[in-house]
């Protein structure tokens, strides 16, 4: 017999978006948060550099500039009304975080300190603007901690270490979720009026990634299984500065503080490609040029990496070259970037204060995901019809505020702004809605069947081997540079792996803390999302933002200024919907 719970509002995922939603929903209706991790383990905690808002604490800034930068950064695929909401509300959201206790760094007069970040500019001078509000290089950690602290203060109800297996979707309406309690293996049915998905990204389909082991796309895969679409899955961001081979992120804040890319010939190559923003060009562009340098033989020692150089004397030399009067020293860097300096020391045995750091692009962020409207309501199709009672916010959602490429710091902006909107919206809905009837035993049985199939499967395939092969093919063919032939090869490989996945065998047949089983189940989700990603990438015969097709190297606004939507009902099906444009007309993207 499954355990049964009833809440007006359910939040799945306890990172920034989930906790923000929970704080606002729980002030209004009976709310619970379900998370497969302890909330403080969520990946928001690893965000480093900052959260942008046009506070103008250090120089002139306007939210409209932030909006333009976001749209241009997204290569004009963003839905512009959503971006305007995000950038306008970012200001109050950051102030709200400060009021909650977030320990932002401060200006000399005690206001929130801000710094430069890739793609954020003064729209008049086109030069970088100080917009990213920061707490050293652990801004995400501070956001996650602060939101969780407030949840404790408000006595929010948590179900920690519960894995959601299935969404209860019936007749176009969502009535809750089915989850398994990891500690016991017991199945729990959560009956709700409103459910918000905030489970973050799914970068584990790649090998070199900044993403945590737990980022396996469980809920987007569940959405897909329930016959609902995913949007813009071909757009995945490769962050230019991952620790070589490991993929651990070294924040763009390093470049915000003056660090530069250096190739094997000792050249600051970004100045050649992007003369105005140089090393602070958006991420998609930097990642592409890093690989271009490598392909043309200018990697370090002819290998597949370049340097991120933030030795104080190097930073100061380029400040001087750029006519920037600022000068910094080692102590300054140690206080502004303590964590990433430590990452290089611990994982690479390199001291960034005295040596340049080997880096390579790393799979980082999903611009695509579960389609929503500006109120975080999940969309059932390309016409904007909503799934009643189902919401999504944060990285897992596609509003779309990031379009084809997200600007640095905007993930944190997205999750606080839309987390809050989602929490309020779902609570308002739940207040006037009533519980729709569900068959809890049937729901539990259907979810359990997914797990029992794996537990009892007696094939000879090890999940790990399948995961490894998936990650390798995704790295090779669905990375920064893509071709039609490569994507087809990837798709074939993924289909082969999906076949083999039916014949896996796990060692642990138990119920309590069966992480063997959960990892195998997560792998199934990753395979489904990898399939959709490669399929969408094959469909998009143009290059835009994070999606670069060598066989179609130009942006094609005539045929592809639109979002993709993919369904998987038996077989894959793709449709599209227009981009919403308000006041910023598509233009060539130069920096």
């Amino acid at each position: 017999m499954p355990q049964y719970h009833q809440f007006d509002a359910l939040v799945v995922g306890a990172g920034g978006a989930g906790l923000m939603a929970a704080l606002h929903a729980s002030q209004r209706v009976k709310t619970a948060v379900i998370s497969k991790l302890y909330p403080t383990r969520s990946h928001t905690g690893t965000a480093q550099g900052g959260i942008s808002a046009a506070l103008g604490n250090l120089e002139e800034d306007h939210w409209e500039w932030h909006a333009y930068d976001t749209i241009k950064g997204g290569d004009f695929l963003c839905d512009q009304d959503a971006v305007e909401i995000m950038c306008r509300e970012a200001i109050d959201a950051v102030i709200e975080l400060e009021h909650m206790g977030l320990p932002f760094d401060r200006t000399p007069d005690g206001r929130i300190s801000q710094r430069r970040f890739g793609g954020h500019t003064n729209n008049i001078t086109k030069k970088p603007v100080m917009r990213a509000c920061h707490a050293a290089d652990r801004t995400g950690h501070m956001i996650l901690q602060t939101l969780y602290q407030q949840c404790i203060k408000q006595n929010v109800t948590f179900f920690d270490e519960f894995q959601v297996i299935d969404l209860l979707v019936d007749d176009g309406k969502c009535n809750g979720v089915v989850a398994v309690q990891l500690a016991t293996g017991e199945v729990h049915v959560f009956h709700s009026k409103a459910t918000l998905i905030a489970t973050g990204g799914f970068g584990k389909m790649w090998k070199v990634t900044s993403n945590a082991h737990s980022l396996t796309g469980d809920l987007p895969a569940a959405v897909l299984r329930r016959g609902l679409p995913l949007e813009d899955m071909e757009f995945f961001q490769f962050h230019p500065t991952g620790v070589y081979k490991l993929g651990i992120l070294l924040s763009e804040a390093a470049r915000g503080e003056g660090a530069v890319f250096i190739n094997g010939k000792g050249e600051r190559f970004m100045a050649r490609y992007m003369p105005t923003l140089k090393d602070l060009a958006p991420r998609d562009i930097c990642s592409r040029y890093i690989y271009k340098e490598i392909r043309e033989g200018r990697g370090v020692d002819g290998k597949d990496y370049v340097y991120l150089d933030f030795r104080p004397e190097v930073i100061n030399r380029y400040f001087e070259e750029d006519g920037n009067p600022k000068r910094i020293d080692a102590h300054y860097l140690e206080t502004r970037l303590p964590d990433i300096i430590e990452f290089a020391r611990v994982y690479q045995g390199i001291d960034p204060i005295t040596q340049p750091v080997p880096i390579q692009p790393t799979a980082h962020y999903a611009m695509g995901g579960i389609p929503t409207n500006n109120d975080t309501e999940v969309l059932a199709d390309e016409t904007g019809r909503v799934v009643e009672g189902l919401y999504a916010a944060g990285e897992v959602a596609c509003v779309s505020v990031h379009g084809a490429n997200r600007l640095g710091t905007n993930s944190l902006v997205d999750l606080v702004v839309f987390g809050k909107r989602g929490g309020i919206r779902m609570a308002e809905y739940a207040k006037q809605a009533s519980f729709r009837p569900i068959n809890k035993d049937a729901a539990a049985a259907q979810a359990s069947a997914q797990l029992e199939r794996i537990r009892n499967s007696n094939g000879n395939e090890r999940p790990h081997a399948i995961r490894k092969e998936m990650q390798e093919v995704m790295d090779e063919h669905v990375g920064v540079y893509r071709t039609g032939a490569g994507l087809e090869e990837a798709l074939d490989k993924i289909h082969e792996l999906q076949e083999r996945y039916k014949h896996i065998r796990i060692d642990d047949k138990g119920y309590k803390w069966n992480t063997d089983l959960m990892e195998a189940w997560e792998l199934g989700n990753l395979l489904d999302l990898a399939e959709v990603t490669a399929y969408s990438a094959l469909w998009r015969c143009e290059s835009r933002g994070g999606h670069f097709r060598e066989d179609y190297p130009n942006r094609d606004d005539v045929n592809f200024l639109k979002h993709s939507m993919v369904w998987k009902n038996g077989k894959l099906e793709i449709k599209s919907k227009p981009v919403r444009i308000t006041r910023y007309q598509p233009e060539e993207r130069k920096y």
């Binding site: 383990r41 050293a136 602290q149 790990h464 060692d507 309590k512």
Partner: protein, 238 residues
């Protein structure tokens, strides 16, 4: 390089008590101990249970006892704890009930955390201009060290006072209290100090320094505890 992982195993569905099992794996010297554990789990014995997520020392999931000392498996390189052909012993952190293999019940730990009011309390009206509260860089720096805590429990579960008496709030909870007591924006220091002056509060700390050594974030834990004791002694927060 070749290393042997000697892991303390316990499966609640089968075992009456824990036992040791050894696995030999081939890893890079610069691999993390977490990578070596995954190598065991993914290629030799899938039943091995552990928590992990970020794999770079930020989420606080994988505190464990490695060669007898508390560390994050993801922030410890194999070459730093073993030589070629050597053995690494891995066991769950001490003082919390073991649920399975390296997974312990964290609830008592989080209960202590919640007990110290780990959140900002400020009942003044918000600034009328709708903007942030002001805080000088010096006031912000005062509590910087204790904001780094990731609640991994390395400190608390390395503390002999905590092993002896689980009711002791433990270093991590005191670190959290410190983070707010010394925040110029906060107004609940008195209440937190009252909680920490109780028999299971700060005075159970015997200044053994295990916590400071164990902290993977480099927080001066013993110093923070000392500063809280000092406030209790003098009644002055500075």
């Amino acid at each position: 390089m070749k290393v042997t992982l000697k892991i303390k195993r316990f499966n609640p569905e089968v075992d009456k008590k824990p036992h040791w099992e050894s696995y030999t794996v081939e890893v890079e010297p610069t691999d993390r101990v977490l990578d070596a554990l995954h190598e065991v789990k993914w290629t030799q014995d899938g039943t091995l249970a552990l928590r992990r997520s970020c794999a770079h020392g930020i989420c606080g999931s994988d505190a464990m006892r490695i060669n007898g000392r508390n560390m994050l498996a993801c922030k410890t390189l194999v070459k730093d704890v073993a030589q070629e052909g050597g053995t690494i012993t891995v066991e769950p952190i001490l003082g919390l009930p073991v649920l399975k293999d390296l997974i312990v019940d964290m609830e008592p730990f989080f209960a202590h955390y919640r007990a110290v009011m780990p959140y900002l309390v400020n009942n003044d009206p918000l600034p009328a201009n709708g903007r942030e509260r002001l805080q000088s860089p010096a006031d912000r720096a005062r509590y910087d060290d204790t904001t780094k805590c990731i609640l991994c429990a390395c400190c608390t579960t390395s503390c002999p006072s905590f092993w002896a008496r689980g009711e002791y709030v433990g270093p991590a909870a005191i670190v959290q209290a410190h983070r707010f007591i010394f925040d110029s924006r906060d107004q609940a220091a008195e209440e937190r100090l009252r909680i920490l002056s109780e028999p299971d509060g700060v005075w159970r700390c015997r200044t053994v320094f295990n916590c400071t050594e164990a902290c993977p974030r480099g927080i001066q834990v013993t110093k923070a505890i000392g500063e809280v004791k000092e406030v209790l002694r003098t009644g002055v927060i500075q």
